[in-house]
Symmetry: C2
Subunit: 270 residues, 2 copies
């Protein structure tokens, strides 16, 4: 009981409405792993906030740009800047990266922390690290080759992913490195908009027969990835957030349309 | 020579075009101080990235929401979350806050780091800290009073402001606390749009007679604050970024219109 109460204390959103449980077993609620979520968020932008250590050992947060080399953030920082001096003194570092907001409540959105040790690439690795940074941050061409700028690659040992309220998990560096960024990500925004504008009834059918909410009165799509769709459904019992997933993982954005058509067909025949 | 070369190595933007110097003395180029810039950026949003120390003393970057109490960020974090555990173990912390982007090059935009020690407010101070957080982060009403969440106020000892390439300065905590957020900030975006849409010739006149660039062929406004306007001007010698300031500091957004009319009058009679 103590453990259950403790969990409720943390997880229950105060006087926010509680979430009704599903009435039937969801058919397939496969989701990306924390490592995959983290790789996808890291690949979604080119800015983050670095945490380094000052000479006094104090934590120092500073805005940075980055590219990616096998998922490892590639920084290009001035040796004269505080974070550059910090890395030269102690290479331990982490970087927080925030996904583009999809909800007006900041804590409902996704973010990650990648933690490890910053390493100076040399030889061939320096060449590819430099290019990875330039690919992500074109303006770096103006300073990347200056003698007082250093390229650093963060060797990621530990990953923390927070997908919003109550959705969070950790991953180890090797799983992060092995994971792929979601190939659907680039088209997800447009797909969500299209599904909500033109296929509201198909989404409601998915929630009813595949998502565990047969009492759905209306549904909208809040997320699209290579494994399936996140839905927000309205029922007379309250608002819920089921997951409906494709029969198999998508390996290209080109497969998204046929996969959602197939989901709709299954939902309507279910 | 060595010192000059060293500065150029850092400051010269590579093969980017160099900035032509003014041909006449700018009339009044008063700007906000670093402390004022920092207070304004801190007041402009409710999210930032916190740097804390893990039990191993590693730097940990994590996304947070905040309110402000006399400029000090008020955090509300779960004791179960990594940053909550970190603060409980060692209260040294800093927070990086990024202003809304006005330039597609991320490093051309403004950001700050506020560094110090996180303190648990008690008594009356807890009451106002709680309200300051709720005012800035309405969704916190769902968890602010849970037993496993703690309010922390960052006592700001040291401030670093970076206003873009080559614009940066530090401030001490007492100057930061004493500074005011810019009262013009809330209307700055609309004012910039209006000036550029309808008053391009007035801006060019300001640059010519007040800003030090009599050879201006076109000017746009890139920033508005309580002290004046930032301009981007085109000359046959290249692009420059002069500053033109009002005769006196504005204390309310209501004063902005008359101040820019007066700047225009001075520019045209100059």
């Amino acid at each position: 009981m103590a453990s259950g109460d403790s969990l409720r204390d943390h997880g229950d959103p105060g006087d926010a409405p509680s979430i009704p449980p599903p009435l039937t077993q969801p058919v397939n609620a496969t989701r990306p792993s924390a490592a995959e979520e983290a790789r996808t968020i890291a690949a979604s932008t080119n800015t983050g906030t670095l945490a380094t250590l000052t000479t006094a050992g104090d934590p120092w947060a500073s805005f940075v740009t980055y590219g990616l080399l096998d998922g490892g953030p590639v920084l290009c920082v001035s040796n004269l800047a505080e974070h550059g001096r910090n890395l030269a003194g102690d290479p331990r570092a982490s970087i927080a990266i925030v996904a583009a907001a999809t909800d007006s409540d900041p804590l409902a959105n996704s973010r990650i922390t990648l933690a490890g040790v910053a390493e100076k690439p040399t030889g061939d690795r320096l060449v590819v690290a430099r290019q990875a940074h330039l690919d992500a941050v074109p303006a770096a061409k103006y300073y990347v080759d200056y003698s007082d700028f250093t390229l650093w690659v963060l060797r990621v040992d530990r990953v923390r992913w927070v997908g919003g309220y109550g959705r969070m998990d950790s991953a180890i560096g090797t799983d992060y490195a092995a994971a792929e960024p979601d190939p659907i990500q680039a088209v997800a925004g447009g797909a969500i908009e299209h599904l909500n504008a033109d296929h509201a009834e198909a989404l409601a059918a998915m929630a009813r027969t595949l998502g565990g909410y047969p009492d759905t009165t209306a549904a909208t799509c809040t997320g699209v990835d290579r494994y399936g769709l996140d839905l927000k459904v309205i029922t007379e019992r309250g608002i819920a957030y089921p997951r409906v997933s494709y029969a198999q993982r998508l390996d290209s954005a080109d497969e998204l349309r046929s996969a959602t058509v197939e989901l709709t067909r299954r939902a309507r025949s279910g």
